[in-house]
Subunit: 630 residues, 2 copies
């Protein structure tokens, strides 16, 4: 689609009265639209052919065949006619319609149109429609296939239709939604579910607009809110009007609709600091770090050191711990060991907290990455001098010269324990005093079932089993959370009662976990995976969080984690889904396994967990596809 | 498992009182059993370890560690203890039990036991049990994993438990069922569903036997019937007794149970002629023939010519058609053309029908396979002489010297039209008189939803997508049909009103079909695919059929056809499943596509087909994985 001058949004026009690209082109351009939707079949041709009239032959397309391809390709979005009878149950009619549909798609690809627009049949479940569409998908290369779905104001059937279609079509990535919004929007949850779907275009009939007090077309608050959410996902817009001079709104005429949409786009709210940081990373899958096996690069340290919130909270936690531990005016020296010191941001914060609290400290900076140690030694010489000892060692095996009062670490991953903070700190606590303090003192992982066609497409595009059972760090956007996150497990530090020595067999087994959480599903949905978050208590009430409800404002160091399902699960309204998570280890690695199991709620006649079908497999069994090296 | 002398059935003994292989061995051998089930954990050890007693250490196995591996491996089936607490919800207990379970499985594989026997936990849904079992599966090579499932007399929960387990374990082929039968059997359908599952052993507690009038243990009629069905699937048997001298039945003692089971085995009914013919082919997947693209081999002709029923019915049909067509005493010569004559069995039958009906005939034998034509020419010279003309030609392109009265063909496949009988006969009917007769005159394809873990294992073992969307010819045994077959479509010959010439574009498109059938599911089940059959009317009431309800007795030329589903579908009691089938063609090939879509029945508040989730994909789209060449 040609984009509007000056960048920004692409708004097109559909004009029921225009059956000719030249006419539509003139009207659209004059009214400021950047593309047009044109039915590829001339009016009456479909009826004639279906009635058996052979005379219309192959010349059933709009009369402007002579328009150059370039004009077409850049300007026209091709509406596919004859879909409606595909599920009529009348075999001969279905066959003729299918041939017509194929012919139109061939024509569209011949012209190089950027997209064709299918309409869901109004009769039947649409299974034969799905097969016809599925066939044409293999004919498309450059051209995209959009399916026009009108949100209905009553029930969730429009989503169910789309879901049936894309399920039958194997979640084909060439298939997207052109979402038509009615004047009356349904309840909020029936809108939000579309954010998890591949919506490429929003169709706004002129009747969906209301008049403002100057008579110009505008959208209701709810329409605005939803449209702005979709704008974040780079959708295109289509205004659908009956004719160029229809008079639904007193002022502005045809140009006013696109002007208003452009206005909404220009005046959309600024992204917050986290979103700004995440720019370009939305819905982009990242492999989680392997901090024990790999050495972080300088640039990685640099990015994370810029977090405006994380280090401030750490400093606050250390400050509070120092105040609690040493009375005012005491000369006692508090030994602080920063384990996994990286390039030193927490060392710096510890020293600042000492100054602010007026406490004396001795700081050890322990770091295994030899490259980071170079920076630490530099900073010791130039900034910290005798206040800091730099130790190049893996904290799990360091023989400390003295015991620490406070152990400070930043070993958390998006799922809390997934960068092996428990194993590292269990190893380090040998040199923490009996009554010593760990910052963080605990962290909890959270999960919730997630719908996201986009993320499923991304993961399955690798085409192998291993990627479908690997978790990814990802900034969510095109997702719909199917329940509020629930806590999975918590790790506390120091781990009181830990008896084994690091390195002994089964040392890490006490950090194995198994947990299940149940979510009641309030709306039919396709579950594509599981969202993971963490909350950490640094010290007493000082905490950091990426849990959506308690997210530390402005903190950008962690995106959520996404655990895929190999086969999407259909969840019905009123059913419950149990998410099972295991954290496992052996001598060399730690890994997660996960499964989703539908359950019925307990009732008088059924036991606590009635067995229903449709469970997922257990993912990543034995850590075969994903693990974190110890 | 060591098999009994003289071949036959392997019957083992489980003795609750025996905790020692030597004791169990002596008792079993004396009583005529060929193997024994022994718990791998000594009594009390589990309790001691779980209570935290470290003193039992690693020496928790039965005292007869010194028994040689060969003795163990050939004789003992290892019962795995400590499964029961795996879903207790008590984390530390679960972890200890899991470690114990793994230790036992390692021990069993070390000894080279042929199988270990897990017991489903009595508390919890068993998800953690499933993960523990799943882990051990990767540790097994020679040793099999059997899960003991006791059929409950009330509801279908025992199957649901098994289904959850194998779903979570990804349909792992190492996992099988040891099915324990209670004294009271549940309703028939709850038994029959097990025929579709990988049952490797049947456990019969002595309490499941009744006493006959001489006081010996026997099984009830229903037990006998079910046990005999399982015997066809080569299961092993285990008699489970409390002690060697328990006195449940007055006569016979321990030997009587195995003697009775051996008796049932020896006196099982003879297989019928079709089963005898199919011996070795049960549940074996065969690629359907490509009769137009490939030339059949002599041996293939030879096998099919031996069918005792098919040619008899063809002769009856020709005889009846001759009687109808020519009045008694007339000298009129009826022209019979056998299209696809092969090595001539239908030519021979046509001549016999002429003799029997006392009608004059001229027979043409048209055959495209040059190798079969050699035989035909031989037979003409030695047997048929002037009565028969042999034509080496593809029937679709033959220019006949005269028109036929009767066109006889045997082009049917297991699904009726799947060997392209419609396309061939449409091509051949050019040389059939306006009022001519086609034998067969019509054929109808049938489908029904099918459960079969075995077939799913077979198809998915290829490890690719293409095999999962290819139909197979297969003699069903380990299957459970989830509904009576329903007709899909019918082809009639001659095809009146056919206008196009063979070879013209779209000539075959009139043989495209789309059909959907709805099945109500009376019992929770896993659907693995679709069974296909055909019925054909040769002439008037002379028909042949492989539809289970109307199967021509003794006819063995066709096994059913099986269309797999890529992902098994869980179907709930009371739900309905719609099977969608398409028959499609292009210039070079014909293919099927299929999909399964769960539906809700129409009600006052919902439209005819409410949209529910969990549809399959459309299989074999565009014929990408399977097609029949034209």
């Amino acid at each position: 689609m040609a984009s509007v001058e000056g960048g920004g949004l692409s708004v097109g026009l559909e004009l029921a009265s225009a059956t000719d690209a030249t006419v539509l082109g003139a009207v659209s351009t004059e009214a400021g639209y950047s593309f047009g939707v044109l039915q590829l079949l001339r009016p009456g041709v479909q009826e004639a052919i279906l009635a058996g009239d052979q005379s219309v032959g192959q010349s059933f397309f709009p009369s402007d065949l002579q328009v150059t391809n370039a004009t077409y390709a850049g300007f026209v979005l091709g509406g596919i006619s004859a879909c409606d009878a595909l599920d009529s149950g009348v075999e001969i009619l279905q066959q003729k319609c299918e041939a017509l549909v194929k012919r139109q798609v061939q024509w569209a690809t011949h012209l190089g149109l950027s997209a064709v627009l299918f309409s869901y049949p109004t009769t039947g479940a649409g299974v034969n429609f799905a097969r016809a569409v599925n066939h044409t998908l293999s004919m498309l290369s450059y051209t995209q296939a959009w399916v026009r779905i009108c949100i209905e104001s009553e029930d969730g059937d429009s989503w169910k239709k789309w879901n049936l279609l894309r399920t039958l079509c194997e979640h084909n990535t060439k298939l997207s939604v052109a979402l038509e919004l009615p004047a009356e929007l349904p309840e909020e949850s029936l809108l939000l579910q579309w954010l998890a779907e591949p919506v490429k275009a929003v169709i706004l009939p002129t009747s969906a607009f209301i008049a403002n007090n100057r008579g110009f077309p505008v959208l209701s608050k709810r329409h605005q809110s939803f449209v702005r959410k979709l704008m974040e996902q780079n959708v295109q817009f289509v205004v659908s009007a009956k004719s160029a001079d229809e008079n639904i709104h007193p002022s502005g005429g045809l140009p006013a609709y696109q002007q208003y949409i452009q206005h909404l786009y220009r005046t959309r709210p600024e992204p917050d600091v986290v979103d700004k940081f995440a720019s370009g990373y939305h819905d982009y899958l990242q492999q989680p770090l392997q901090p024990l096996m790999d050495n972080l690069e300088s640039a990685t340290y640099e990015v994370f050191e810029k977090d405006p919130i994380k280090y401030q909270e750490y400093e606050r936690a250390i400050y509070r711990a120092l105040l609690d531990r040493v009375p005012d005016g005491s000369d006692r020296v508090t030994v602080i060991m920063v384990v996994g010191a990286g390039r030193g941001p927490l060392v710096q914060r510890a020293l600042q907290a000492a100054v602010a609290s007026n406490r004396k400290v001795k700081v050890y900076a322990i770091e295994k990455n030899p490259n980071a140690v170079v920076t630490l030694r530099c900073r010791k010489e130039s900034e910290w001098e005798d206040l800091v000892d730099v130790i190049h060692c893996d904290m799990r095996y360091w023989e400390a010269p003295e015991q620490a009062d406070i152990l400070v670490s930043e070993l958390l991953g998006s799922f809390g324990d997934n960068e092996l903070s428990p194993e590292c700190l269990d190893g380090a606590q040998r040199f923490l005093k009996e009554n010593g303090i760990s910052i963080p003192s605990s962290y909890t992982a959270f999960v919730s079932p997630l719908s996201s066609t986009k993320l499923y497409h991304e993961v399955s595009s690798y085409g192998d089993n291993a990627h479908l059972e690997t978790p990814y760090v990802v900034k969510f956007r095109a997702v719909h959370e199917l329940g509020a996150p629930l806590p999975v497990w918590t790790f506390e530090h120091p781990h009181r009662g830990l008896k084994l020595e690091p390195g002994s067999p089964n040392f890490n087994e006490h950090n194995n976990r198994y947990s299940k959480q149940r979510f009641q599903i309030s709306q039919d949905a396709m579950m594509h995976g599981i969202a993971g978050y963490f909350e950490a208590i640094l010290y007493k009430d000082v905490m950091i969080s990426i849990h959506p409800k308690t997210h530390s404002p402005g903190m950008f160091s962690w995106f959520p984690i996404f655990f895929p399902l190999k086969v999407p699960l259909y969840l019905s309204t009123g059913s419950s889904i149990e998410l099972h998570f295991w954290r496992m280890c052996d001598a060399r690695k730690v890994w997660y396994e996960w499964a989703a199991v539908p359950v019925l709620p307990a009732s008088d006649s059924t036991p606590e967990t009635a067995l229903v079908g449709g469970a997922s497999t257990i993912h990543n069994i034995g850590g075969r596809s994903y693990w974190i090296g110890l």
